[in-house]
């Protein structure tokens, strides 16, 4: 069966190769992917751009009146860019500032914890496969499920407050205090994604040749020094990948936070992507134009981040 099926594809592909020559074959391999890409990513992004320069409630771009940079001007109408409340569209800027704060803390926590976990998992321990699986497990859960699980634990009458009152404390409204809410969304997103980064770092650690360590041990170099002088530099390429991936994903954070805090209390955990989603969808006030303008701005930022990653990985390979 398998053989037969492959042969059926083999013949036309071989014919095709004879027809267009070996040098054009890479385009054949790329074509299906690029076709999907064009239709479902490139075209929508272009439509999105059209939305951002038009206004009104209409869905089809052709029916929307052209407003030029009006949406962008509205978005950037600020007294001072450091103070969101001086902006006309303050929710967008609160989203920006929350996302920045969230990203900074989340990425640092994510990198440190996955590094620590990778190092521990790389030690000589029993049941390493089991523990590795334990840390990876949450990666498989959908963001909505992750948020629900934790919401259930963190609510007023949840498990955590039961523990606190059991120890004689007072209930804490974890999701209704700005500081706590920010802490918990960071905690939960680290909880959910840490396993993936841990495995990348673990792979890096395992690729470090053992004789390097043996030499260091002979010299009786202190452990922290071995780590600082040897492990870290050798692990650097993997760390870069982790940092950049974590960074980009943190900027995009939406579902988890949306279900967990809904952006509250007030707007203290409102993220940029949630702002875009709500502007386009929530409660029938469907402002496609403004949402599109905000998403173009976000897209440019993300593109810059990705280019930075490209630059890093190229420097690495050269």
């Amino acid at each position: 069966m398998l053989r037969g099926a492959t042969r059926i594809i083999d013949w036309p592909m071989e014919g095709l190769q004879r027809l267009i020559g070996e040098r054009r074959m890479p385009y054949v391999f790329l074509l299906p992917n690029l076709a999907f890409f064009g239709v479902f990513v490139f075209v929508p992004i272009s439509i999105n751009f059209l939305y951002s320069v038009t206004g009104g409630p209409a869905l089809f771009p052709a029916e929307r009146p052209f407003v030029g940079a009006g949406q962008y001007a509205y978005l950037f109408d600020c007294g001072s860019f450091v103070d969101p409340s001086s902006c006309r569209e303050d929710h967008f800027w609160r989203g920006v500032s929350n996302t920045l704060r969230f990203t900074a803390f989340q990425v640092v926590a994510m990198v440190l914890l996955s590094l620590l976990t990778a190092i521990v998992l790389n030690m000589k321990i029993r049941g390493r496969g089991f523990f590795r699986a334990v840390y990876f497990f949450p990666v498989l859960l959908s963001p909505v499920v992750v948020a629900l699980i934790w919401k259930w634990i963190l609510q007023r009458d949840g498990l955590l407050n039961a523990g606190i009152t059991g120890l004689g404390g007072d209930k804490i409204l974890f999701l209704s205090e700005p500081g706590w809410a920010m802490f918990w969304i960071i905690f939960v997103s680290v909880w959910a994604h840490m396993g993936f980064y841990t495995l990348i770092l673990l792979a890096g650690l395992q690729a470090i040749p053992a004789d390097i360590y043996e030499a260091a041990e002979m010299d009786a170099t202190p452990r922290w020094r071995v780590f600082w002088r040897l492990t870290l530099p050798l692990l650097w390429p993997n760390l870069i990948v982790v940092i950049v991936l974590a960074l980009i994903r943190a900027v995009q954070t939406f579902d988890e936070v949306f279900v967990l805090t809904g952006g509250g209390p007030g707007t203290s955990t409102l993220m940029v992507v949630q702002y875009i989603y709500e502007t386009a969808f929530s409660n029938q006030v469907q402002n496609f134009g403004l949402a599109a303008a905000a998403s173009v701005v976000l897209g440019i930022v993300l593109f810059a981040l990705t280019l930075a990653q490209l630059a890093f990985s190229q420097r690495k390979s050269s």
């Binding site: 992004i45 000589k124 495995l199 360590y213 939406f254 992507v273």
Partner: protein, 349 residues
């Protein structure tokens, strides 16, 4: 794995460093933190609506014990009552009027008592509220939703594996004009979440006439930049000599891709397959936008259909969450070694 063995062999087992103990402590804490919340979810999903509202919550699902008392047609709820003289006894409640409760001794039904409601505590027993599962499932065409979800997940994953590995092959093995542009395009869109272009994608799907077809769910996410990226990184590490040797043997480019590169890329393909299964299985926002007919609903939409405007029915929400989580968990239990070592080997180097 050899390197790993070497690494672990380098330290003498007899000399225990404090870091070893700390490591185990850390790992055990990890087990509690990572598994605990999920376990709590599963336990909670078997509690009755009243049980869910309780504080402090009981660890196991419990519900109030009911007892048949002679002379009363319905079973009566049982309470432990603190009597005026300070003794406690078990009584069944006949009715409650205001803050007074009218109670009866189950062993002696003629004996009635009036008790203040804060003097009684329900007697509870372990019981699983399986109706949290059966009620919503009976209301919906569950097998149909399951079939749709499986179809979407399987087909989408196959397409994803095929077209992304082809693209990754082109981008890793060949040098050709426009390669950098293609790379830039793949990576440039790597990070555009579908959430922010939901409406334009919907327009495209409408124009293609795909609304209310499972293909509308399958196709848009098939060309995932993450997949291309992952596979390409892995293919870059394959020995070029093999490919050159095959060319010498007059193998066509397709044969090289299909017969030589694909089998070697298996670990990375497995990783992508797992991610694809997981993404497709969990997808919610996008199917909700394009699927409006019951016969094409996926599980995620079907199981959320009881969420109204004004209330969250926690007991159903938790139970249905467990329902959607279970298949993923089962896949993971069977494939976890494959997945974790697969990612470790793909390495993103």
């Amino acid at each position: 794995m050899k390197i790993a063995q070497l690494l672990t062999a380098r330290r003498d087992a007899s000399h225990r460093h404090w870091t070893d103990i700390a490591a185990y402590a850390y790992l055990l804490l990890g087990v509690v933190l990572m598994f605990g919340p999920v376990l709590w979810l599963v336990l909670s999903s078997f509690k009755t609506q009243a049980g869910l509202l309780e504080f402090p919550p009981s660890l196991l699902p419990m519900s109030q014990k009911e007892i048949s008392v002679a002379g009363y047609p319905q079973p009566l709820p049982l309470f432990t009552v603190t009597m005026e003289d300070g003794t406690t006894r078990q009584l069944a409640q006949v009715r409650r009027v205001g803050i007074q409760s009218q109670m009866v001794d189950p062993d002696n039904p003629s004996q009635q008592y009036r008790v203040a409601i804060d003097k009684r505590v329900p007697v509870r027993e372990f019981s699983l509220a399986t109706e949290n599962y059966t009620e919503p499932l009976a209301r919906f065409a569950f097998p149909r939703f399951l079939a749709n979800s499986v179809f979407v997940t399987v087909v989408a994953t196959l397409i994803t594996l095929l077209i992304n590995s082809m693209a990754a092959y082109a981008l890793s093995i060949y040098e050709f004009k426009g390669k950098n542009a293609a790379m830039l395009m793949v990576i440039g869109t790597l990070m555009i979440p579908i959430t922010i272009i939901l409406v334009p994608v919907y327009l495209v799907v409408t124009k293609l006439g795909l609304v209310n077809s499972l293909w509308a769910v399958i196709l848009p996410g098939a060309a995932t930049p993450t997949g291309v990226f992952l596979l390409r990184q892995y293919m870059l590490t394959l020995p070029r000599d093999l490919i050159e040797a095959a060319r010498m043997d007059k193998a066509s480019e397709w044969q090289i891709y299909w017969r030589i590169v694909m089998p070697l890329t298996l670990p990375a393909l497995a990783v992508l397959a797992i991610f694809s299964i997981m993404w497709r299985w969990n997808e919610f926002l996008w199917p909700l936008a394009v699927l409006t007919k019951t016969e094409v609903y996926t599980l995620q939409i079907g199981l959320n259909a009881f969420q109204g405007e004004l209330q969250t029915q926690w007991q159903y929400l938790l139970a249905m969450t467990v329902m959607t989580l279970t298949p993923v968990a089962i896949v993971f239990v069977f494939l976890q070694r494959f997945i974790t070592t697969g990612i470790a080997n793909t390495g993103m180097k």
